[in-house]
Symmetry: C2
Subunit: 217 residues, 2 copies
């Protein structure tokens, strides 16, 4: 590792020297500082815009996650009849996957609301890197949580709608139509929240990159 | 937006001025450049280390994803008997979710192999931001894909192991034990690949942040 670092130094320093050579005669320091300052101001404005987009997406994702949790949590259907094979009462906690879906969506919604102050910090102080980095990492983890919830509930709802002839699983949605519609809607809302979260991660990564570009100027 | 930019300018420029004040008498420019150069060299070494970790994680994740796809793709069990309700032959394409699992894992494995050159670029040129940013964004998307595949297959395998009394779905794993074991192992491998991918995103975000810190010095 040390020898590699030395190699870098050998590559890096001549580069800096050759860059400096062109400007050195015309008082390099003030010129460089002036350019950087102007670029920085423009970048700060750009990053404030990114932070506002992040805030709006965050609100939308929180609303979608809470709506999904609430829709599944209160979904319930009692059939006016019952047959030999089917129960006559469907509720979200009949299937453990749906219980996980409710908990995960409520957790992600709660996280998104709690993260709003950090997002506001990014708007007020666009040049701060700490909050943005915290958000990008926590957002990635929460994206993973909500996608796993949405995908597993989606797989179960696919089975509920279509059944499986090979596994001899019946399509329960032929009876519980309202229940299934409500949960399918919630799965879609959860995927919308996931797309918002991924967009937030990508946008924050770009904002981190724009800061980085400033260094090379 | 413009008025906000002006506010930033108003805040930013005095800051820079007050920073400069302390050093201005002692020829500020060369001192500042010297510090930045030394810091940069240390940072470049650190980032080369991060890029190597990223490369190793990428190899591990690719191996896990391909293993998962292959394990499910070739999982097959023929029972020596059959009953009134059960088929006597189980294969991955009996359930659409498992077919999705195979495709998604193969796609993510393929992406990870194709992204190795970019990861090597990050090792050779640790100060380049472009490849790192490309990787962080594509990694996020691929993480979403593999997690949705693993979670949906996990939900189906939970059902296959435990069944659901309320939905009247039988636990098919009581018959197809080997088939279920193989697929459950593949789901675990897929989640391992997902954890590697999330770690890669977090580590790359930190590497982007380290570049950023250089700006503020």
């Amino acid at each position: 590792m040390d020898s590699k670092q030395n190699n870098d130094e050998a590559v890096l320093i001549p580069k800096n020297k050759s860059k400096g050579k062109a400007v050195v005669d015309a008082s390099p320091a003030p010129a460089a500082v002036g350019t950087t300052k102007a670029t920085l101001v423009r970048r700060v404005g750009w990053k404030k815009g990114v932070a506002i987009v992040d805030f709006v997406l965050r609100l939308g994702a929180a609303a979608a996650a809470f709506a999904a949790a609430a829709a599944v949590g209160q979904a319930e259907e009692v059939l006016p009849f019952f047959t030999q094979f089917l129960q006559f009462h469907a509720q979200y906690n009949d299937l453990p996957t749906l219980a996980f879906f409710v908990i995960a969506n409520a957790a992600v919604g709660g996280y998104l609301v709690l993260s709003l102050p950090f997002s506001i910090t990014c708007i007020v102080r666009p040049h701060k890197v700490g909050p943005r980095l915290l958000l990008i990492i926590l957002d990635s983890v929460m994206t993973a949580l909500i996608i796993s919830a949405a995908a597993s509930a989606g797989a179960i709802m696919y089975l509920a709608h279509n059944g499986s002839v090979d596994a001899n699983w019946i399509a329960i949605c032929q009876q519980y139509t309202n229940f299934c519609q409500q949960i399918t809607g919630a799965v879609v809302a959860s995927f919308v929240a996931a797309v918002f979260l991924i967009t937030m991660v990508a946008v924050s990564a770009f904002a981190l990159k724009r800061t980085t570009t400033t260094t090379t100027h």
